[in-house]
Point group: C2
Chain length 120, copies 2
């Protein structure tokens, strides 16, 4: 389902959470879908169950999933995270755009770059 990148220096729990979040955002996991159990995911990734648990807890806090004791973890309905995701993404996009501008990259070049990515 997901693959860890051990060159990535960030904590494993953050990495797991981010990869699952991306999967959810991209529709690889749909609302209502059941995620692998904490223990299974741990075996799958060869990491500790506690680490998976932290990743899941972070996802639940952000509204991406819902945890139900005894049943499992399930992808939330879209309404609960779509808006949040949008504003987070846009905010980050604006911030990077400002730095790009400051670094001396022209407006035209920036616009072309965006267009190019969207055409890929």
């Amino acid at each position: 389902m997901i693959v860890l990148d051990y060159r990535d220096k960030r904590p494993l729990n953050e990495q797991v959470a981010e990869k699952l979040m991306n999967l959810i955002a991209q529709g690889g996991l749909s609302p209502g879908d059941k995620l692998p159990s904490v223990r299974n995911m741990a075996v799958d990734l060869s990491i500790n169950p506690n680490t998976v648990q932290r990743a899941y807890a972070a996802l639940e806090e952000k509204g991406y999933i819902v945890s139900v004791t005894g049943r499992g973890n399930f992808v939330s309905e879209e309404e609960s995270w779509r808006k949040n995701l949008r504003s987070e993404m846009i905010s980050e996009f604006e911030s990077v755009t400002r730095r790009v501008m400051t670094a001396g990259i022209g407006k035209e070049e920036a616009l072309e770059c965006v267009s190019r990515i969207y055409e890929e």
Copy 2:
């Protein structure tokens, strides 16, 4: 000259290097300018000289500054880092744009966002 953000979880040396790099890229420090000495900067930020030294070493490796034993650290001529800065910025911009696209934000909205930032 710069201010540390202790909510930022990244290492201090990286943070110092990045903030100085931004200052240089934005013209807050011009080619030839002398940076605070390792020891003075350490006192200024209330951190260890070794940490400052690491930040300066990273900046020198990327060509932003030149270190001269006995004299100090000086901002490099622009040619030595402008190209590098451009490619790094563009690479980061592309990466964020992909994520923005993945998150379901449309091309038009992204383009408008860029335009808006550049008009500010």
